[in-house]
Structures are given as C-alpha cells and as structure tokens.
C-alpha cells in the first residue's frame, strides 16, 4: 500500500496537497479520535501511559507513607491491599507495556522506512481497547461504596492473583472481576498490536532494509511482539478459568471440588516470565539506539546484541517456575529451573558488556537521553545480579516473597524499563513535537530520579534480607525495619519530585519558541533524515537502504584509517517536498469505527459483572463497530 506507484504525476501532487490540508485540519479533538496515523496513536499511547504512571505513582506514595513508620495508620489493611494490587497491575499493564507500545508505534515505521504500520485501523483499535481496559480497571475503585470516605472497591488479591484467594469465597465483591476482565480487555489490545508489528516489520521494510540492517530497537520490537502473541493466550486461558470459577461456579481452582490452585501459578508465570521480558526488551532496544548516537560509534557487536535478545526471549519460556520454588515442586524441578535461571544470565550479561563496548573509545556527549541510558545499564546490572541470586534456589527459599524480591524487580522494571523509556522520551521528543525538552531540567530530573531510586529500592534489599515480607500493610517496631522503611519513603518522594520536574519540563517546552532541527543529536537511523515534527506521510519518497545505520553513512564516509569524515555539506540533503513527484502517496483514511468497536468491550465486561442485559448492549455496540469498520470505504 505504502509503495503504490501512481503513474500520473498531477493526482500525486493533488494527493500531497490533500494530505497537507488534512494535516492542517488535524487540530480538533475529532481528528485525534478518528486518527489512524501511527505517530498520533503513539503519542496518545504515551500520554495515556504517563497519566496512568502518575496514578500508579500516587498509589506507590500512599503505600510508602503507610510503611514509613511501624504500625502505620495512613491506610487500613483493606485499602492497602487494594492499592498495592492496583499499583502493580497499573505499572505493568497500563504504564510500561503501553509506553513501550508508544515507541513501537512512533518509531517502527520511521526506522524501517514505511508510511505507517501494516494495519492502521487495527492499530487505532489497539489503542482504544487499551484505554478502555485501563479506565474499566480503575473504575473498580468506585464500586466499594463512598470513595470519599476511603471505601475502595478495587481488586485486593495482588497483581499476581493467586488462586484460591481470588475465588468468590475469599474475595467477595466485584474487585477481582474487574481485574480479570480488565486484563482480558488489555490482552486483546496487546494481541492486536503484537500481530500488527510482526506483519509491519516483516513486510513493510523499505527496499534494502534487510533484517540485519534493522535498527536494534526494531529487532527488539519484533522479538517483543512475538513474545506478546505467544504469552498473552496463556494468561487469557488462566483468566477465563478464574472468571468461570467466579461467575459460573466452575471448579478449576476450588480445592473442595477437586480443583488445583497450583495450576493458576503455572499458567500465570508461564505468561508472567515472558511478560518480564516484554517489559524490558523494548527499553533495551531504546538504550541500544541511544548509546551509539551519543558515543558517535556503531553498536558494538550488533549481531551478538540481536541474538542475545532473541536468546533471552526463547529462554524466558523455560524459567517460569523460579517464581514457584517454595510451592514444593520437588528437588528435580527446582534444580532444572534453577539452572535455566542461571543460564538466562549469560545473554543478559552479553548485552551489558556490548553496551560498555559501544561507549568505549567513543566521543561521548553527556546529554539527558544518555544519562538515562547509562542509568539503565547501572541499575539493570544490579537487577541482573540480584536475579542470579534468585537462581540459588535454597537461598531463594529465604528471599522469596520478601522485600528483597520487591527490590530486585524494581531494579529491573524501574531502574531498567522506566529509565530506558525516559531515555527514549528525551531522545525522540523533538522528532514528534518539533521542540527540544530543556537539557538542564532533564539532567535535574535524571539526578533526582537516580538518587531517589537508589534511596527507595536499595534499602528494600536490606529489608528483605533482614526478614521483612512483601504485601504486609504494617510491621511492629523492634524488627530493625524502621530506618530503612523511612529512607525508602523519602526516596519515593524524591522520585515523585523528579516526575514533577519532567512535567514542568514538558509544559515549559510547549512554550518554547525555537524549533528542533531535524537531526539534533547527530543520529544514525532513518527517522533523523525526516523533518521534526514528521509529516503525516513520513517519507516523501520511500528511501533505499544501503547499510546498517544508513543515515550516518549518508552524513559520513570513512578515510583509509577507518576514521569517519563528514560528507561535503549539501550532498546528502533531502530534496524539498515540492520537487518530488515520482511516487504517489496513498494514506489510510481516518475512521471512528476502531473506537466504537473498542467501546463495546468494557460494556460487555460490565454486563458480565452486573447484568446480562448490559452484555447485549455492549455486543450490539461491538457488532456496529465491526460492521462499520468492514463496510467503510478505504478511501474517500
């Protein structure tokens, strides 16, 4: 579609003028609601994910306030359980995953030289379903009574939802139903987007963009998308079994009727461990783009980094039971999963060494994106090493379900994923908004976040080792926990301050007059060959790719000693838009039907909890959406 060739030049110019007019009319809210442009969808993913990040962050602050002193009185146990459940669920499914999806959307077509993703309307559908699922899930807060008096109704069985605690007998109320149905809705969004990016990356690459000329971030998008389409069905089945138990009195997990609670854990972690890599691989991809740009050196050992990413993805299917050592699986299973967990450290280590090799001998420019990328390496290394300690199974019998585990996965998911994603935000922000975020505020944010992060999560490592379990709303004094908990709370507020500074930076940047140049960082990949912000059609002419880091090679050649020399100015300049009339630009039309189709899902879910009649309404909306979508003419 994107490479369609129009034989007659005058309709082409007409089409381009039309696109520009559309772009000019892209101001009202309606243009956002109906958009199928991957860049706008990406930005909506980003904004929604950051909004949920604030929500999940406020939840974290409440938890930290409650735990800042022994016998805390900020929250009662019921509120605490609901808030920690929602904090975990929110941060994983509504923050890190969609923020990664934001970058998949924003970057993939630009990096492979395409005009859009393979299925633009399906892409819009993914976003709206994600948003619907996130709102549906959080709506559960209002089902517990008067929320202003602290009567919360959210799920209270943990983000991991271990059966049989999730069954109606132990978790009455609608919270767990909202949780399970919300995750099902979010799963649909993830599946649709996973398939979309697999097809996009395999089929829509520009001429010459072979797989091994793809930027590392695109490789990680592809790997993550495969993980998503294989992992999501597992949790889908598990959630259906839970829902059948809760809504229709089935007995998958009910011991009294011969059900097996352990089955839930196997399925949950068979999904859950690949999920960990779904969360971290995109950030690894971002870091692998940021480091070469700011060191002005190609990624060290590109094939090793690609294959170690793929190896991690494969091996992530063989380590799930390391979440279950203490369930009594027996010595053979524990040994096997202990060893497989040891092995997965190897490709992870390879990546860290290659990133250091990339920086070695470079000309390092310390800008905010690089600060966050180096913060990622520094903190993820701790996450990886503490991960190795979990493979020491008998020692893990002590650490399982303590704050040591909480510290470990925050090293990976905050010190890793969130730092990596912030590197991406600062790196690519000018490409989509046409404005550079302020460098000083950016570095201030980094240092506050870095110090706050260490003050919050390193004490948790000690807390776990001196015996503090997770998921307790309160602890007595005299356990040696007091000081470390207070320090962790102070750290959490430092992190909150750093996020506040990020918001200030974004707001201040919107008032900034000067426009960002097309290539502010001296980038290496195709997106930097485009103007900032990128026009709706991305590439005036689909580029032909000759090498890995193709755009770098347009800017620099090498002399005999292998040192890069700038190409004479002007030789690589992009031709002006007006002069191009070779290829036609065929853009997908906007559509409201992805939104309508998506809107049907939370209505159906609400009906499943409260009243079958509402299910019928939701189904009707869904059918209208699907038919409208199918029958809508592709172009006007």
């Amino acid at each position: 579609m994107a490479r369609a060739i129009e034989p007659n030049p005058s309709p082409v110019l007409e089409a381009m003028r039309q696109i520009r007019e559309d772009a000019a009319s892209y101001r009202g809210i309606w243009s956002w609601i109906t958009t199928v442009d991957h860049k706008r969808i990406g930005m909506m993913y980003g904004v929604a994910a950051l909004a949920f990040f604030l929500l999940g962050g406020i939840e974290a602050l409440l938890l930290r306030l409650q735990l800042s002193t022994p016998n805390g009185q900020v929250l009662n146990p019921d509120q605490y359980n609901r808030i920690f459940t929602m904090h975990g669920t929110t941060m994983i499914f509504l923050v890190v995953m969609p923020l990664s999806a934001a970058f998949f959307n924003l970057m993939t077509p630009l990096m492979i030289g395409a005009r859009d993703v393979a299925f633009p309307r399906l892409n819009a559908f993914s976003f709206w379903v994600f948003l619907a699922g996130g709102i549906f899930m959080n709506a559960s807060f209002f089902t517990g009574g008067n929320i202003l008096q602290g009567e919360l109704g959210a799920p209270d069985a943990g983000w991991f939802g271990y059966a049989p605690l999730t069954l109606s007998r132990f978790s009455p109320g609608e919270g767990v139903d909202f949780w399970a149905l919300g995750l099902q809705i979010l799963g649909i969004a993830s599946m649709a987007s996973g398939f979309n990016f697999i097809v996009t990356i395999l089929n829509m690459r520009a001429p010459g963009m072979t797989l091994f000329r793809m930027p590392l971030f695109v490789w990680m998008t592809l790997t993550t998308s495969f993980l998503i389409v294989f992992a999501m069905p597992v949790i889908t089945v598990a959630l259906f079994e839970l829902l059948f138990d809760r809504l229709f009195d089935a007995n998958f997990f009910n011991v009294a009727k011969g059900g097996t609670p352990l089955l839930w854990q196997h399925m949950f972690w068979l999904f859950g461990h690949p999920e960990v890599y779904i969360l971290i691989l995109p950030a690894m991809g971002i870091v692998s783009e940021v480091l070469p740009t700011f060191a002005r050196k190609p990624l060290f050992g590109y094939p090793f980094v690609v294959f170690s990413g793929i190896a991690i993805a494969f091996m992530s299917w063989g380590v799930w039971a390391h979440h279950m050592y203490t369930t009594g699986l027996g010595a053979v299973a524990n040994s096997a999963f202990g060893v497989s967990t040891i092995l997965i450290a190897i490709p992870t280590g390879v990546k860290i060494f290659n990133w250091m090799g990339t920086l070695w001998g470079g000309a390092i420019s310390l800008k905010t994106p690089l600060y966050f990328a180096i913060g990622f390496i520094a903190m993820f290394t701790i996450g990886g090493l503490t991960g190795v300690t979990h493979s020491i199974v008998p020692s893990d019998y002590q650490q399982q379900d303590t704050y040591y585990i909480v510290a470990h996965f925050h090293q990976v998911l905050f010190g890793g994923a969130i730092f990596g994603l912030f590197a991406g935000i600062y790196y690519w922000y000018p490409k989509f908004t046409g404005k550079m975020l302020y460098e000083g505020l950016g570095q201030l944010q980094f240092w506050l976040m870095f110090i706050g992060f260490n003050a919050t999560f390193q004490p948790m490592m000690i807390l776990g080792l001196i015996g503090m379990p997770r998921r307790i709303y309160s602890y007595p004094s005299g356990q040696g926990y007091d000081f470390w908990n207070l320090l962790a709370t102070v750290g959490a507020f430092l992190i909150a301050t750093s996020v506040l500074i990020f918001i200030i930076n974004v707001v201040a940047t919107t008032r900034r007059k000067e426009r960002a140049p097309a290539d502010p960082w001296d980038g290496r990949t195709l997106e930097w060959s485009l103007p900032s912000p990128v026009p709706a059609y991305n590439f005036v002419e689909i580029p032909t790719v000759h090498a890995l880091d193709d755009f770098w090679h347009q800017k620099y050649t090498e002399d005999e000693s292998g040192r890069p020399v700038p190409v004479v100015a002007g030789a690589s300049e992009e031709a002006e838009d007006e002069e191009v009339d070779v290829h036609g630009i065929h853009m997908p039309s906007p559509s409201v039907f992805p939104l309508i189709t998506a809107a049907g899902l939370p209505i159906i879910a609400t009906g499943l909890i409260y009243d079958p009649a509402i299910v019928a309404v939701g189904a009707a909306v869904l059918v209208v959406g699907v038919y409208g979508w199918a029958l809508e003419p592709a172009t006007e």
Partner: protein
Amino acid sequence: MHRTYWPRLLTVALLLAIVLLLVGCNTGTPQNTFSPEGDVASRQRDLFNMVLWPAVAILVLVEGGLIYIIVRFRRRRPDELPTQVHGNTRLELGWTIAPAILLLFIAVPTVAAIIDLGRAPAANALQVKVTGIQWKWQFEYTDIKDSQGNPLQVFDELHIPVNQEIGAHLESLDVIHSFWVPKLAGKLDVMPGRSNRMWFNATKPGTYSGQCAEFCGLGHADMRLTVVAESQEDFQAWIDQQLSGGGTSRAPQGAPALVSGGE
C-alpha cells in the same frame, strides 16, 4: 577535566553504602537471615554469601567501568569523530564464555543443596503438622497424644527441642500461606489440597520469630508465629504441662472450627 570530583564523590558514596549495608545486615534483628540458628538457614546463608561476593565484584567492575568510560571518552570537541569499531568477535566470545564458567561454579553447589535440603525428614524427627488458617497457625504434634488419644494441638507458638530435627507437614484449610521462620529455615508454601513437607532444626535455644510469607488476605501481616527452641527437659516439661491442660496457647478464642473447606 572540571568533573574529576565525580569519581571521588561516587567512591565516597559507594563506601558509605557498603558501611550502611554492613550495619544493616549485622544487627541482631529477630528475622535476620544473616544470623541463622538452624542448619537449614545456615546452609542457605552460606549459599547466599557464596554468590554475593562474586556479584559484588562484578558490580564494582561494571559500575566502575562505566564511570571510567564516561570520564575517559567524553567528547572534547563538538566535531570529534571516533573510529567506527563494529565489534570484536574474540572479545565477545570471551565475555559470553567467562560468565558461563563462573555460573557453572555456582550451579553445582546450588543443585547439591537443593537435594540435601529437599530430602525427607529423618525417621527419628519430631513430627509436626502445620496448618495455615486465615489468619492463624495451628501446630499438631502427630506423635504426642493427649488422654483421649488426640494429637496435641497448639496455636501460633511452636515449642521444639533444640538440636532435634523437626519433620513438618504443611497443609492449609483455605488459601495459600507460607511457613517461614527466617533464623531456622527458608519458607515453604502451605497449600490447600496438598501436603508439603520440610525438615529444620534449631541449633541454639531461643525464641524465633516468623510469619506468613504468602499474601493471604486482610490479616496477612498479622499472621505471625513464634518457635521456642528449648532443651529436651524443658520441652518435655512444656509438653506435660500442655497435656495436663495447664497450657495457655491451646485453644485461643476465635479459633475456627477445623472442618475441611468448601461448600
């Protein structure tokens, strides 16, 4: 080089962190896994230390290396262009294989310990059935019978003779719990519908604090327990007192009826 103070500052910070870490881990807090008083917990602590020090060495190497690289290879002129090195196969094979060998040295003692600690309790072990109930611990001495021939039951406080192996069978009446007394042994889950077994002992008389480690609902944080390890004579005296009905911990108020769960 106006930034040379950074490495020094970071060194000070690192030293401070290590001091704090040592302080944190050496205090005699009641659930500290670094001060074990049982064979199982000791073995687990030793394994952790075995991997801790190589991990600290790698950490210092990586973090120190990062700081060194950032300082040494900073861009000095805006137009500075480094040689475009794409990789080094030998180096990369090296840093793939070296960790693999290091990890092999960790894997062998790990598997050995899994098998040792996972063995069945010895035949002469004191048998205790541990039942998790929202939100209480019930302990049943399988082989110690009262006058009616029922096994002796106590709640939340388990007495054991020091230096004798305990064979524990863990069962749950409702949701999943996890039995954990950090100074004596790592945790094992208490699952409804199945019986998990473990062995442990206390090598020193004392009172050891523990608590449920698997999230089990509203009272999870308060589902605490105590293990009192005492000499064989003291233990026998305690048993006799319990059997003669003089016990205090036998039947707390609000103990749920011990019928099996379900509809």
